[in-house]
């Protein structure tokens, strides 16, 4: 049975695992390099800050940049209060029981729902039944529901990481539970909450299916939340898929990847600060 010595088994295992890891990293590296190599030369101030012309064939991506900023912002404005509130309730205001289990299970399920279902729901509910039309508001609300689980989970984790003694000190000084939450727990959990917010922004930025059916794809600056917007992901999808302009498509993709890079670096830095504080 044991034809190979443990030493050789180990060598083979390392070889196979190493090769798999290398292959993975190369594929992922290829994707980034492929996009940046073709897209970086398109990026310039004028590409970022001028309006597109001829449906994105020429000109810049300014309205989509604005759309990409506004849509997550709106989604967060709804999802953060709800998500943080839920996490506070789960951790500070109730005991583990049937209710918390149901809430957690619901949150997990919501996290697993495919984005196209959110799109389907948002399109029929917000766009058609509530007669909002394709607009920023419909898109923002749909995305808010989509990122709610992320915010809840990360906030809950962050709140749990706040040592219990902090709360005890606060209680012993006569503070109410609410005051303790607001003045002690939440400030200490803030970096973790911000991490969740960042993850949520990341999901909003990368989302296409749910956005295109709720926020639409109008290629101009929105004047109100009832205007349709196009995010960079949707813009890229349309440019690339319809062959409008390969050059501008790659440029948009490069901007997307760079913004996600920025977002990730920030998140990572915050997470480390957070962990550093806990230790």
């Amino acid at each position: 049975m044991n034809l190979l010595s443990p030493k050789w088994t180990q060598r083979i295992a390392i070889g196979v695992l190493g090769a798999a890891t290398l292959a993975t990293l190369l594929v992922l590296l290829f994707i980034i390099v492929f996009v940046l190599e073709k897209g970086l030369r398109t990026i310039s101030w004028s590409f970022l800050f001028t309006n597109p012309q001829d449906m994105g064939r020429a000109g810049g991506i300014f309205p989509t940049l604005v759309g990409t900023l506004l849509l997550p912002l709106l989604a967060l404005a709804v999802a953060v209060p709800l998500g943080v509130g839920t996490a506070v309730y789960l951790t500070e205001y109730t005991r583990e029981g049937r209710l918390t289990r149901i809430i957690r299970f619901g949150t997990d399920c919501l996290a697993g729902i495919p984005s196209i279902i959110f799109g389907l729901f948002g399109f029929i509910f917000f766009v058609t039944i509530l007669k909002m039309g394709w607009c920023l508001l419909a898109g923002g609300l749909t995305l808010a529901i989509m990122i709610l689980p992320t915010i809840i989970r990360t906030t809950e984790e962050a709140i749990r990481a706040v040592p219990y003694s902090y709360r005890e000190v606060s209680f012993s000084l006569g503070a109410t539970r609410w005051a303790t939450v607001v003045k002690v727990v939440l400030p200490n959990a803030l970096p973790g909450i911000v991490t969740g917010v960042m993850l949520g922004i990341g999901r909003c930025i990368g989302e296409t299916a749910a956005v295109i059916f709720t926020a639409g794809s109008a290629l101009r600056l929105p004047h109100s939340v009832f205007d349709s917007v196009r995010t960079m992901s949707v813009h890229f999808y349309i440019l690339a898929r319809e062959g409008v302009s390969a050059e501008n498509a790659y440029g948009t993709a490069a901007v997307l990847i760079l913004s996600i890079l920025l977002l990730n670096v920030t998140t990572y830095w915050l997470m480390h600060r957070f962990i550093g504080r806990r230790a």
Binding site: Q53, D54, K131, G216, A218, V225, D227, S228
Partner: protein
């Protein structure tokens, strides 16, 4: 301590409430401020509508015209439901559910059969086209090309271009092997990327990276379409619920004006006359 905390809490809550009200007011206020309409539907007409909207907004910067794709069925649906003020549909004839809508023909459009430039085939008889799209003719060598399988590329169910095309060439059931794409531009990209592919799309959206086929020896060109020689032509409808009013009326009038029709003509569509 308690008092100050509850005081802070009250202040915070008040502040939150104020911010909330301010945001709500701002949102409502903004919502009413700008006049804007949405066009939705036919992806064949979408690029032209976008161009027209761009020109119209350049002349009237105070208004917003939003153009959304989705296909002709979306055009009819969104005009009916009010999701869009103007629906766009490119259909031979409007379906029964669109009878309640006011319709106006703004352009005519040839449907071009397109292949990869490297494909040696230049002409198809209408009957051959029918067999190809029905799936009974499945190798290019039977249509005068190289010995390789044909990849049929079609639009999705619900597309006006598809239903017009199928009616015009007489296909009752599309080949089950057909690749399906959901816009004219995507059909074009798929054909550009595949030497064996054949697809169809609005004549106005053909570019120099793909090759148009003659149908029954008739070239798909503006002249032939106007002369009534090219067989695959369908009208483009704009649909409104009731008579168009306000901005919708103004925009449709603009499309039908000499300037709008010239823009349509310049970009490869045939004016409604």
């Amino acid at each position: 301590m308690q008092k100050s905390i509850s005081g802070i809490r009250a202040k915070m809550l008040t502040r939150l409430a104020l911010v909330g009200c301010a945001v709500a007011v701002a949102l409502c206020g903004c919502g009413r401020k700008s006049a804007s309409i949405t066009l939705a539907g036919s992806t064949a007409f979408q690029p032209f509508a976008e161009k027209l909207a761009e020109q119209y907004m350049a002349a009237h910067p105070e208004v917003g015209v939003t153009v959304q794709g989705g296909g002709s069925a979306v055009g009819i649906q969104s005009a009916l439901s009010g999701a869009a003020q103007i629906g766009m549909a490119d259909l031979l004839e409007l379906p029964p559910e669109a009878q309640g809508l006011t319709s106006v023909i703004v352009a005519r459009d040839g449907i071009a059969l397109v292949v990869h430039p490297a494909n040696p085939v230049t002409n198809l008889a209408l009957a051959q086209a029918r067999e190809i799209f029905a799936g009974t003719l499945s190798n290019w060598k039977d249509a005068g090309g190289a010995d390789q399988p044909i990849t049929v590329v079609s639009r999705e169910a619900g597309s006006g271009t598809r239903s017009s095309f199928e009616k015009l060439i007489g296909v009752s059931k599309l080949s089950p092997d057909a690749i399906v794409q959901d816009s004219s531009g995507t059909i074009r990209e798929t054909v550009i990327n595949d030497q064996r592919a054949i697809g169809y799309l609005s004549h106005g959206l053909v570019n120099d990276k793909i090759k148009m086929l003659k149908v029954d020896d008739q070239e798909c060109s503006t002249d032939k379409v106007i002369a009534g020689k090219y067989p695959l032509v369908r009208p483009i409808f704009l649909l409104t619920k009731g008579a168009p009013e306000g901005l919708a009326q103004a925009f449709i009038a603009y499309i039908l004006s000499a300037e709008g029709q010239q823009c349509i003509h310049k970009n490869g569509l045939i004016p409604a006359k």
